[in-house]
């Protein structure tokens, strides 16, 4: 029994199950909701199975169909992939339960197939071992994300989705050009082989420039974030949750993976990591200030995502001297942000459904009338602000520690300022949940499943603060942040 579980190709399940589920949802719209929920549930179980597998056996590598690199497709899973898969599974569970209550009949049949395709694309992306398949999964993910963003229809949503589509297509084309250059230069698309063959050369620099630019656009790093707020702000709330929590992280994951394996050692020029750090710092400050200026709740949360992406890039300048610590901190922040931001969008969705609008100054005693949503927002906010004992606090603590040890006070100050600004915009919202609006509004009931899925995600983001030791030890399986290359 145990052997069966340990040898079972969980990675294949992780990719194929959502795609199959998506097809079933598409063909039999009557059972779309049920199929969708079941698929997500079993996909999450498969992450558990994979986790067990690589916890016991270490890094997992699987050649699909026995072809192997360079011609076939290789799947690869280490601690870093596992962390991203786990974040995806958690958010997917929460958002799916929420969506089951949120989408009415007509939208439901369109939502589930696209969402399952998105889930499959995300899982495939985190498990891919070659840069061309990364392109394919990236594009599949982007298209599914755009389709979801435009799902609700209406002028704002469609405009946001269109802008998003143009940005994401441009980003992946630029990335693809980088892939073409790398293949030309080194004759392989396999990451491990590339890491062995690549050497510092103009080709590497050109490829790096293209790939980094494409991925920065897709990750919405300042100043390439222009498409994010309209898209995330006008999509249906569960979709915004998926986009902010997972989709922007996926392109960051690719950038990080390629930086660690291929470019980092070669482009070992501090100017590059300093530039990433500067853009990250600018994103934190700019995104937070913009968030503070918003009058609409969902747009505020979307700008907050722009800011939180910035923290991930602060790890680049810190990692030159303390790789493992800085990357662990960044990934911890990414994980807790995924949970917290999903919870926050879902809670905002509840307030939106309840009051029929998301004007911050007009929230009208939500804390009394919709307490679970207010609680979810506040708890998620704790993690976003980085207050103890949340997951966001642990991430910030780790990063601050590295920054202070290296004497990088400018990074310390930016992080603290970002936290203060986050507190300002989150408590701006919370303050208005206590006051009464000048004119009373009609209110609409919110299903319990929507309230609890938001709250449970928020609680998970806080509890993550107590799980640092197991999470960090899982993260370091296969030594993804080591200076030496990963052995297959």
């Amino acid at each position: 029994m145990e052997v069966v579980f340990k040898e079972f190709p969980w990675v294949a399940v992780l990719i194929l199950l959502p795609l199959l589920g998506g097809i079933v949802c598409f063909l039999f719209s009557g059972i779309a909701k049920f199929t969708g929920l079941m698929t997500v549930f079993f996909t999450a179980l498969s992450v558990l199975g994979l986790g067990w597998q690589i916890f016991d056996n270490g890094v997992y590598r699987h050649a699909v169909g026995g072809w192997g690199a360079p011609l076939g497709i290789d799947l690869y899973a280490d601690g870093l992939s596992l962390l991203m898969l786990a974040a995806t599974a958690f958010v997917a569970l929460g958002v799916s339960v929420y969506s089951a209550g949120y989408f009415e009949r007509g939208y439901s049949t369109r939502f589930w197939p696209i969402w399952l395709f998105l889930l499959g694309a995300l899982n495939a992306l985190f498990l891919t071992a070659d840069i061309f398949n990364l392109y394919v999964t990236l594009e599949l993910m982007g298209l599914a994300a755009v389709a979801l963003a435009g799902l609700a229809g209406g002028k704002n949503a469609l405009t946001g989705a269109m802008r998003y589509l143009l940005a994401t297509l441009l980003g992946s084309l630029v990335y693809l050009l980088g892939v073409a250059l790398l293949y030309h230069g080194f004759g392989t698309v396999d990451i491990t082989l590339l890491a062995q063959r690549a050497e510092a050369s103009p080709v590497i620099w050109a490829a790096f420039g293209l790939i980094a630019a494409g991925l920065m656009l897709k990750t919405a790093l300042f100043p390439l974030h222009f498409w994010l707020p309209p898209a995330h702000g006008s999509a249906p709330p569960p979709v915004s949750a998926l986009l902010s929590a997972l989709v922007v992280k996926a392109s960051f994951y690719i950038l990080l993976r390629l930086w660690l394996e291929i470019f980092g050692p070669l482009v070992s020029n501090t100017d590059v990591s300093t530039l990433f750090g500067l853009l990250g710092a600018a994103a934190i400050l700019w995104g937070s200030v913009q968030a503070l200026r918003q009058t609409r709740l969902k747009l505020m949360i979307a700008y907050s995502t722009v800011a939180q992406i910035g923290y991930l890039f602060l790890a680049f300048p810190l990692a030159t001297a303390a790789g493992v610590a800085a990357w662990s901190a960044a990934m911890y922040l990414a994980f807790s942000h995924a949970l917290a931001k999903a919870a926050m969008f879902l809670a905002a969705g509840n307030m939106l459904r309840f009051g029929g609008h998301d004007r911050i100054s007009d929230l009208d005693r939500v804390v009394q009338r919709l307490p679970l949503a207010a609680a979810a927002f506040a708890l998620a906010g704790m993690s976003i602000m980085g207050l103890p004992p949340s997951g966001g606090f642990i991430g910030k603590w780790l990063m601050l520690e590295v920054a202070i040890k290296q004497g990088r006070w400018e990074i310390v100050i930016v992080m603290i300022l970002g936290g203060l600004l986050a507190a300002a915009y989150i408590f701006k919202v919370l303050g208005h949940t206590f006051t009464q609006a000048p004119s009373p509004h009609e209110s609409k009931a919110v299903p319990a499943s929507m309230e609890w899925s938001a709250l449970l995600l928020a609680i998970a983001a806080v509890l993550l603060g107590f799980l640092a030791i197991p999470v960090l030890s899982l993260l370091n399986i296969g030594n993804p942040f080591g200076i030496s290359e990963v052995t297959p």
Binding site: Y135, L169, L173
Partner: protein, 99 residues
Amino acid sequence: MYFYALIGVGLFSVGLYALINYAHLLRKILALNVMGSGIFLILIALAKRTGETQPDVVPHAMVITGIVVAVSATALALTLMLKLAAETGRAELSEKDRD
């Protein structure tokens, strides 16, 4: 061989210029397609890397995959554009499109 690759780069650049410069969405979508074709041309051209008689097959596989992806992306983009045009009466993204 590099001649074709350079044409590919040229197509990519022309596409990028058009994407940024034109307001009409159809032009933007076409521009993206031109950029894609440029990249495919580069891949094909560079496939004949080694001077052997048999060209490298991997880039061909990539291009075929890429074309499939590009077709579906274009389909989605066109649908979205039509919906947007039906909603707003214009197939453009204006700066003041939020209320």
